[in-house]
């Protein structure tokens, strides 16, 4: 037992001594979570619309008030058509519109007149802006028609937003209403990236065993009066402790610095983390047993982790056809259960956890069987 702890102590010391890899394993996940979580705020993004209103006739005021009432657009004004184009080219705005001088005059005189739209880079935002802006024109035309027939009796009725008419009832059918369910982007990617980095911190010691075998230092360890099994187990324990430490740091730091809500169930969260680390180590052992050198193993494993993260939706939430391959990755089950925990779905989390536990079990059996190959001295 003492051997185990001594070996564990030195392994931890070795890991902690390398400041740079510490920075990489603790700092990089937090940095990436910050960048991606904030960079991909898909929800509630307003369409930044730049407007050049050249018209100073009676309709100008109604255009302004219509635009101000729109909650889907954030409107700012340019002072020339060139200004609109410039803002669009610099991508300071998502959508541009130019309302020509004499717009009011032409409309009231019954002449034809046209606004100019400048669609931007993002097609979905273009659709929104176009729908909202053409809405003004449609309402205007409708009121012109009605007022010309003198049925409504008021020729000066100008377009404006009316309260919700309840004209359209929208039914959203899927249980996970948006791409990310009820979670924020920050939560979604926090889960995905913590899992990914757990994989990275759970590989080093295993692959270093290969290196030690090739350098013959493993033979020296075996020559000591301590049982080799205890020494190896101690090293693995050190790595496990570090991985757990990493998870705690990422969870706490993201919670207190970025305000990520990990769900209230810290016990289950802990279980997910432990199971993920266990399966990551087991996977590392299997990969190591199939590789000739530490370097090959590391490359193979890193590639595997990136592919698994991508396929399980950890980099882009919607991976199209590849989503069918998701359940064959560990990340799918572990980040899935964390997401369920975050959204407070205990039953769903239990299902996902069950899946994760099964995978971990299978991998651990494989790992125990292949471990002999990794530390074989011949």
């Amino acid at each position: 037992m003492r051997y185990l702890f001594v070996s564990c102590y030195y392994e931890l010391k070795r890991i902690l001594r390398n400041r740079l890899s510490l920075l990489l394993l603790l700092g990089l996940p937090l940095l990436l979570i910050f960048l991606i979580g904030n960079g991909l705020q898909l929800a509630d993004a307003k369409v930044r619309t730049v407007v050049y209103l050249a018209d100073d006739g009676p309709l100008a005021a109604s255009v302004r008030s219509y635009l101000e009432e729109q909650e889907r657009l954030s409107v700012h004004y340019a002072d020339s058509a060139a200004g609109v184009e410039q803002q669009m080219n610099r991508q300071n705005a998502d959508y541009g519109v130019m309302i020509p001088a004499g717009f009011s005059r032409s409309v009231l005189a019954g002449e034809s007149v046209q606004w100019t739209f400048y669609p931007g880079q993002l097609s979905t935002r273009n659709m929104t802006a176009e729908a909202v802006l053409s809405g003004y024109l449609d309402t205007l035309k409708q009121q012109l028609v009605l007022s010309s027939t003198a049925l409504s009796g008021q020729a000066t009725a100008l377009p404006h937003n009316e309260g919700s008419t309840e004209g359209v009832r929208i039914a959203t059918l899927a249980s996970n209403a948006s791409e990310l369910g009820t979670l924020s982007t920050l939560q979604y990617y926090s889960a995905a990236y913590m899992i990914m980095f757990l994989f990275y911190s759970s590989m080093g010691t295993i692959f270093r065993l290969l290196q030690e075998r090739d350098q013959r230092t493993l033979h020296r360890l075996a020559a000591m009066p301590s049982p080799l099994g205890a020494v190896v187990a101690g090293k693995a324990l050190g790595m496990l402790l570090f991985a757990a430490f990493q998870a705690v740091i990422v969870v706490l730091a993201s919670h207190y610095l970025y305000g990520v809500d990990w769900g209230g169930d810290s016990l289950r969260l802990g279980v997910v983390i432990v199971l993920t680390i266990a399966s990551a180590v087991a996977l590392a052992v299997v990969v190591a047993s199939l590789s000739k050198s530490a370097k090959t193993a590391e490359t193979l494993y890193t590639l595997l982790v990136v592919v698994m993260t991508f396929v399980s939706g950890g980099m882009i939430a919607d991976v199209g056809l590849l989503a069918a391959a998701g359940p064959f990755t560990i990340n799918y089950w572990s980040s899935g259960s964390i997401r369920m925990l975050m959204s407070g779905d205990a039953a769903g989390a239990a299902d996902m956890l069950g899946g994760l536990a099964c995978i971990t079990g299978v991998l651990l059996v494989l790992a125990f069987w292949r471990m002999r190959k990794v530390v074989s001295l011949t």
Binding site: L42, L140, L173
Partner: protein, 382 residues
């Protein structure tokens, strides 16, 4: 001449073995092909099924007014029931469904609320826009119908139809300026190419650092070659590697996958070479600060992935919040993407002076900072 030999040696060391070819040539091609396969063609056309149960005429008018929406294909679901339509949307066979209720026309004339139904699998931006459009059309019909309601049942349909025609025929409208929208998948492909160029630049600088650490560089200096020739040779090697990678990626995507980025090959190479210079600059600057050569890979991870995210390699910067868009101006990736976007929109070489100049400035400053890497006697502290 000596420089060319050094450059050639560097190429052989980096991609001379199967593993090098796999990592720096084949992997990039595969990744980019997968991206094109996954996300192209886009934007995808959304299938919307409209179920018109209306006994009157206005339902027909409504569906007519919804035709011709950009990115949406409207189909009539004449023989479907509401339940079947719901099932279709739920299973994803249709992207959205619209149900016009049986008494739609009658309720409009009676000024009663008989709402339309919009069924969607999940809330997405495009169907939010569809809802906006639907609400607007419904609101218009509602007003017209209310105004015509006073007339007899035979005339009011004709009146509303007349008004609608008048509205359609009125000269008030809008034109769309074609701004040369760059597809998301193109940006992703460009971003991935930038990422792989950076990785390759790192690898080639790593060989230089290894030369220095293993004293190979000192031996090179004892040979009758000038320091300038050595520097030039190492530099040419990086450029050669980057160019080979780029050309292969471009040829594969264009001729095997039939995917056209929209930039001519020489233009692409021009921008990429400028970017390569700044990538080499970053790598040498990193190599100059790293204390332990085995940490070089780690530090590069710390530099490459965040700057690629910030620079807009993986999704358009327009999606990012304001402060991140400003920060992205400090990454060379951003300026390479700007240069290529402008090229896709048809800019001439002269119009690219600003982004390319900034890229070269990045390279100049960073290379100056990192030039110490090439000092043979300098040694990383261990």
């Amino acid at each position: 001449m000596n420089s060319i030999i050094i450059a050639w040696m560097m190429v052989r060391r980096t991609i001379g073995k199967p593993k090098g070819v796999l990592l720096y040539i084949i992997l990039p091609v595969i990744v980019i092909s997968v991206i094109i396969g996954l996300f192209h063609p886009e934007p995808s056309i959304k299938q919307v099924i409209l179920l018109n149960n209306d006994k009157g005429e206005l339902g027909q008018q409504l569906s007519a007014s919804l035709g011709g929406l950009e990115g949406i294909e409207l189909a009539a679901g004449a023989d479907l029931t509401a339940e079947q339509l719901r099932a279709l949307v739920e299973s994803g066979k249709a992207d959205a469904g619209i149900i016009v209720p049986e008494d739609y026309t009658a309720s409009l004339y009676a000024r009663q609320a008989e709402p339309l139904q919009l069924l969607r699998a999940k809330e997405e931006l495009w169907n939010v826009s569809l809802a906006v459009k639907l609400e607007a059309q419904d609101g218009m019909l509602r007003k017209l119908a209310a105004a015509a309601a006073a007339q007899g049942s035979a005339e009011r349909d004709a009146t509303v139809r007349g008004w609608l025609e008048e509205i359609q025929g009125s000269g008030i409208g809008y034109v769309k300026e074609q701004s040369g929208q760059v597809l998301d998948v193109t940006i992703m492909v460009i971003g991935m190419m930038l990422l792989f160029v950076m990785l390759l630049a790192n690898q080639s600088i790593l060989t230089v650092v290894q030369d220095r650490e293993q004293r190979t560089m000192q031996r090179m200096f004892t040979a009758p070659v000038g320091a300038g020739e050595i520097a030039l040779g190492n530099f040419l090697g990086s450029v050669l590697l980057g160019t080979m990678q780029q050309v292969l990626i471009l040829l594969t995507t264009r001729y095997l996958l039939g995917f056209d980025i929209g930039v001519s090959l020489p233009r692409m190479l021009l921008v990429m070479e400028c970017f390569l210079l700044s990538a080499v600059g970053i790598a040498t600057a990193v190599a100059a600060v790293v204390k332990n050569i085995s940490n070089f890979g780690y530090v590069n991870n710390l530099v490459v992935s965040p700057t690629c995210i910030l620079g807009g390699c993986f999704w358009p910067v327009a999606l990012m919040p304001e402060f991140m868009q400003k920060l992205s101006g400090f990454t060379p990736q951003r300026w390479a993407i700007i240069a290529l976007e402008e090229s896709i929109r048809g800019a001439t070489v002269y119009e690219l002076a600003l982004p390319l100049g900034i890229l070269l400035l990045f390279a100049f400053v960073l290379l100056g900072f990192g030039a110490t890497v090439l000092q043979p006697a300098r040694e990383a502290s261990r």
